[in-house]
Amino acid sequence: MADIPAAGTVPEMRRDEELTTADGRPLRVALRRSQRQLRRRAFYLVAPLLVFLLVTFGWPIANMIAGSVYNPEVAHFLPLTSSAISDWDGEDVPGEDVFAAMAMDMESGLANRTIGRAAGRINREIPGARSLVMGTARDLEDMQPPYREAFLAEDERWGDLEFWRLIKRETRIVTPAYYLLALDFEYNSRGEIVERPEIYQVYRQLFWRTAWMSLTITALCVLLGYPVAHLLATLPLKTSNVLMILVLLPFWTSLLVRTSAWIVLLQQQGVINDLLVWANIIDASGRIRMIYNQTGTIIAMTHILLPFMILPLYSVMKTIPPSYMRAARSLGATQFTAFTKVYMPLTIPGVAAGVLLVFILAIGYYITPALVGGESGIFISNLIAQNMQGTSAQLKLASALATILLVGVLFFYWLFNKLIGVDRLKFG
C-alpha cells in the first residue's frame, strides 16, 4: 500500500513556474478576473429592480421610520431658547438669559412666520400654550428688558415650571415620545416616563390582541391544512391535481371577494343563520352573531390564509417516500405510532414554513378585520390606518405604531429566512 502514490497527487509546483494563460498572465489572476466579471454581470441583471425597490420602497419606509422620531419644531423655530435652556436645572423659573433668548426667537419668529409652528408644537402637550406664546409675541414690541419681569408681568403662566420643562424636553430633535404613546406610556409634568391613565390605554392591548388572534388563526390553519395537505400528497397525482384546484381557486380569488362572501354567509340575516333557523336548530329570534366581532375575523382570515399553509405543507409532504410508513408498519408500529414517530417529524419543515408564512401575513392584515371585525375584532393595522387620517401628531403616532409592527414582522421574516430560506417559496 505504502509505495502506491495517492491518486491526484501532483508534483509540487514551484512559485516561479506558475501556470499562465496564452498571453502570459498568471492563470490564477485571469480566473479571478473572469469570475469577477461573471459576478458583476449577474448583479447588473438584478440591479434595475434592486435600485427601483430601494428608491420607491426602501426609501419611503426609511423616511416613515425617521418621521416617527423626528421632532424639529422647538429646536428649529426657537433656536436661541433651545441653546440657552440647555444649562437650566429645571428647579426654579429660568433666568433672564433664557427669557431674553425667547424674546429674540419670538421676534425673528414673527418676522418669518415660524413662531406659530413652535407654539403649535408646545400646545399639543400643554393646551393653551399657543395663545400664551402668540399673545406675548404680539405684545413684544411694548416690552423692555429685563424680559423675565416683563414676561411674568404679561402673563403669570411664564413662571410655570411645567412649561419650561416641556420646552427643554422638546429641544431634542429625536424624540421617543411617539413610541411611548404607541406603548401607552407618556411623560408626566415632571418629564418622567409613566403609564398613561387606564382609560387611554389602547395600543399595548391591541398589539397583544393582534398577536394572539394571529396565533389562533395560524393554529386553525395548521389544524385544517395538515390533513388536507397530507391527503393531497398521498392521493394519486390525477386525483390530487383536481382537488388542488379547490385549494388554488381561493388562493387566486380576490381578498375582497372572499371577505364579502363571509359577510353574506355569516351575517345575522345571512345564509348560515337562515340554514340553522330552517333546520330548527335555533329560533328566528336567536340568530347567532358570528360577524362584526372576533369570531368573524378569525373565520374569514383562516379561510383566506389556509392556502398559504397547505401549499408549503404539500410541497414538503410530497417528498416523503410512502415506503417509510410501510417500513415502520412492517417493523411492528401501529398506524398511530408510525405516523407520529416517522411521518410527522419529516413534515416539520413544511409546518414551520406554513406557520411562519401565515403568522407573518396575519399580523399585518387590514382589510378583513376592517370589514368583518367590528369593534372587538380589529388589528393594530386598523388603528394605524385610523391615525394616518388625523393630525400631524397622529401621523407620527401612526408611523411609530407601524415601525413597531414592522420590526415584529421583519423578525419573523428573518427567522423564516434562517430556517427555511426565501428562495424555497413557491406558489401553485
Binding site: L45, P60, P250, Y366, L371, M388, L405, G428
Partner: protein, 283 residues
C-alpha cells in the same frame, strides 16, 4: 394511499372519517366562493337565498344587479381604472422581475440570499405600512392621487411574485441545452430566442399573471393613493361593503371569481407546458 387489505376495523373507521374530515375542509375552502355566484342573480335586494330561489323559480332570478353594474358610469370607470393600472404595472413588474430572476439564477450571483430577501420583502411587509410610507412619499413629491404613483406602488407589490415564479421555472434549467445549441452552430442570439426564451416564457407569463391579479385585487395602497379620478373597483367595493351592501357588489364579485378561474386555468396550462418542455413528465 388506498386502504391496505390487512387493515383492521379501527383503521377502516379512521380511514373513512379522515376522508370525511378532508371533504369538509375542502367545502370550507370552496363554498364561500361558490355561494356568492347564485346570490348575485337574486331578484330581490337580499343577501340570502329567497324561498323562490330555493324552489328554482325562474322569476326569483334576474340579471338586474349585472345590469346595475354595467349601466353605472362610476362602476365602469373604476373597472377601467383597475384594468389600466393592473396591465401597466404587470408589464413593468414582469420586465424588472424577469431580469432580476435571470441574475439571481446565475451561479455567480453575489449575496444571493440577502438580495433575494430584499426583493421579496414587499410581499412580507404589511400592506398598511407600505401604504403609509408610500402615501407620505408621493404626497411630498406632489404625486399622490396620480396614476403614476399607483402604478409604481403596484410594480413594487407585483415584482416579488414575478421573481419567485420565474426563479422557480429557471431552477433545474438544463444548462446543457445551451451548450447543445451552441455546439450545433447557434450563436448567442439564436440560442436565446430559440432555446432559452421558449423555456422561460411559461414562467414569465405566469409571473406576469400573478403581478396582474395582485394589482387588480389590491385595496390598501390604492385606498390611500387613489384620488377620485383614479378610484379602482376594489376601493369602490371596499367602501360599498363598509356602508350599505348592495347585491351589485356580488355581481362584480362573481365576475372576479370567473376571472380567477380563467387565470387559474391558464396558470395550470402554463405549468404543464413548462414541465413538458423541460422533459419533466407527469406520472
Amino acid at each position: 394511499m388506498a386502504l391496505p387489505a390487512y387493515a383492521g376495523t379501527g383503521e377502516r373507521v379512521w380511514y373513512y372519517s379522515y376522508r370525511v374530515i378532508c371533504a369538509l375542509i375542502f367545502l370550507f375552502l370552496i363554498v364561500p366562493i361558490i355561494v356568492i355566484v347564485p346570490l348575485s342573480f337574486n331578484a330581490r335586494p337580499y343577501f340570502t337565498f329567497t324561498q323562490g330561489m330555493l324552489a328554482l323559480d325562474p322569476s326569483a332570478y334576474s340579471l338586474r344587479w349585472y345590469d346595475a353594474l354595467f349601466s353605472s358610469r362610476e362602476w365602469m370607470n373604476s373597472i377601467r381604472n383597475s384594468f389600466f393600472i393592473a396591465t401597466s404595472s404587470a408589464l413593468i413588474s414582469t420586465a424588472l422581475g424577469t431580469l432580476a430572476a435571470l441574475g439571481l439564477s446565475r451561479p455567480q450571483m453575489p449575496a444571493r440570499a440577502f438580495i433575494t430577501a430584499i426583493l421579496i420583502s414587499p410581499m412580507i411587509v404589511p400592506l398598511i405600512i407600505t401604504a403609509a410610507a408610500l402615501f407620505s412619499f408621493y404626497a411630498r413629491l406632489n404625486l399622490a392621487n396620480t396614476f403614476f404613483s399607483i402604478i409604481m406602488a403596484h410594480v413594487v407589490l407585483g415584482t416579488p411574485f414575478v421573481v419567485i415564479t420565474v426563479t422557480a421555472s429557471l431552477s433545474g434549467f438544463d444548462q446543457q441545452l445551451i451548450r447543445a445549441a451552441q455546439s450545433l452552430g447557434a450563436n448567442q442570439v439564436t440560442t436565446f430566442f430559440k432555446v432559452i426564451l421558449p423555456l422561460l416564457l411559461p414562467g414569465v407569463i405566469a409571473g406576469g399573471l400573478f403581478a396582474f391579479i395582485t394589482s387588480l385585487d389590491e385595496v390598501v395602497v390604492v385606498l390611500f393613493l387613489a384620488g377620485p379620478e383614479q378610484t379602482p373597483m376594489t376601493v369602490r367595493m371596499f367602501s360599498g361593503l363598509r356602508e350599505e351592501i348592495s347585491p351589485t357588489i356580488l355581481a362584480l364579485a362573481s365576475i372576479l371569481v370567473a376571472i380567477s378561474i380563467l387565470l387559474l386555468t391558464s396558470m395550470e396550462f402554463l405549468r404543464r407546458r413548462n414541465e413538458r418542455q423541460r422533459g419533466i413528465s407527469q406520472t
